[in-house]
Amino acid sequence: MTAILRRTIAVSLVLFGTAAAAAGPTEGHDPLRGRTAVDDMTRPPSIPTAENRDLKRTRSYAMQPPTIPHSIENYQIDRFANRCLMCHARARAGETQATPISITHYTDRDGNFLADVAPRRYFCDTCHVVQMDIKPEVAVQNTFEDVDSVVRRSQARAKAVPKKK
Amino acid sequence: MKEADIAATDRVPETPADSSLRRTEEFRTWFFLTIVMAPVLAVLTVAGFGFVVWMYQLVAGPPGS
């Protein structure tokens, strides 16, 4: 073996050894694997299904695109057909009793009112999502706070501060 | 034609060779009819029937309309 090769191997071994010592399988955990040991298999959760109860949900803020109250499995939205509009288009809503798409969906980006749904709003599932039928603890957590509670908190704080005379 | 009507001169007696030939011919005819002709005719009849119904449906529209 040449001198260069021997030196390369030696350096690699040192680095590898250091890395192995620093992050053993029992210390820290791999964010992808979770807390499963290396010699064990993870038990992934069951594939959830979308909630299909057709009950409107409370919106977290006024302009939130409402979540979809039914399953949209296999719904075709492409240049050929839009399965959502088949029920939710203005012309169809009377027959289907589905919520017609709001007026905001008819303006293009320059503010012009169009006769039919604007191209930038055509792909409904860009903004509207279903909710999975799972326990709240399992869902992705967030720290979003409703504006009502923010207002209440600031009002309470204003009340607590004694008024300057 | 009754046997009595056929003149004695016209009646040709069958030789054993004739018989054997006749037997072979009959077998071949039976075979041809049973294995070839009848199936072919049946297929042609059914196909013809299907074809006629198809043409009718082109004019009268699909079934049920």
Binding site: F80 | A38, A47, G64
Partner: protein, 195 residues
């Protein structure tokens, strides 16, 4: 040659000398049974998925789309093959459809939809023909499996139960009116005519 034909014609048109009446009748009967069985087997072979998807026009276009749908794979494994929806069960109409299939053989030979572009262009015409057929026979092929009177509406979602208990029950609509695109993707609907 003419002599040969004359002799065989005589054999054909005169009573049999060597074969009994019983033999002739029974052999004809058994031959008929064998033929009819063979005919039906061949007919059902042309109804299999392998036969239909033997043509690349079908295999690479509509069959690919079918594989993502509920009629191809679902939790119960009850599924539909091509002929369940596209070939009528009634014998007369089935024969008519099989003769109509000669048009498809012609199309295969002359390549009427042998590229993706040609297929997409012709798609709306093909789709509308099928929709018209199903509308005319009150979605008979759907009802071969989905019997309305056996539908438990309490087990369906709200939208489905509502739609089925109104339009379907009152017969103002038939299955295909709402369920277009259930098995294959919808074609370009820009030039679709409302029928």
């Amino acid at each position: 040659m003419r002599d040969l034909l004359k002799r065989y014609w005589r054999t054909l048109s005169t009573p049999s000398k060597f074969y009994s009446l019983g033999f002739l009748v029974v052999s004809g009967f058994i031959g008929g049974i064998l033929f009819w069985g063979g005919f039906n087997t061949a007919m059902e072979l042309t109804n299999t998925e392998q036969f239909c998807t033997g043509c690349h026009e079908m295999r690479e276009n509509v069959y690919q789309e079918l594989q993502a749908t509920i009629h191809f794979t679902n939790r119960s494994g009850v599924r539909a093959k091509c002929s369940d929806c596209h070939v009528p069960k009634d014998w007369t109409h089935k024969m008519a459809r099989k003769m109509q299939a000669s048009k498809e053989v012609w199309g295969k030979i002359f390549g009427s939809i042998d590229t993706r572009e040609k297929f997409l262009e012709k798609r709306i015409e093909l789709a509308q023909r099928e929709w018209a057929r199903l509308k005319a026979n009150d979605s008979l092929e759907c009802r071969n499996c989905h019997d309305f009177n056996s539908m438990d509406l309490t087990r369906q979602g709200k939208r489905a139960a509502d739609a089925h208990s109104t339009a379907l029950e009152q017969r103002t609509k038939t299955c295909i009116d709402c369920h277009k695109g259930i098995a294959h993707r919808l074609p370009d609907m820009t030039h679709a005519e409302l029928r």
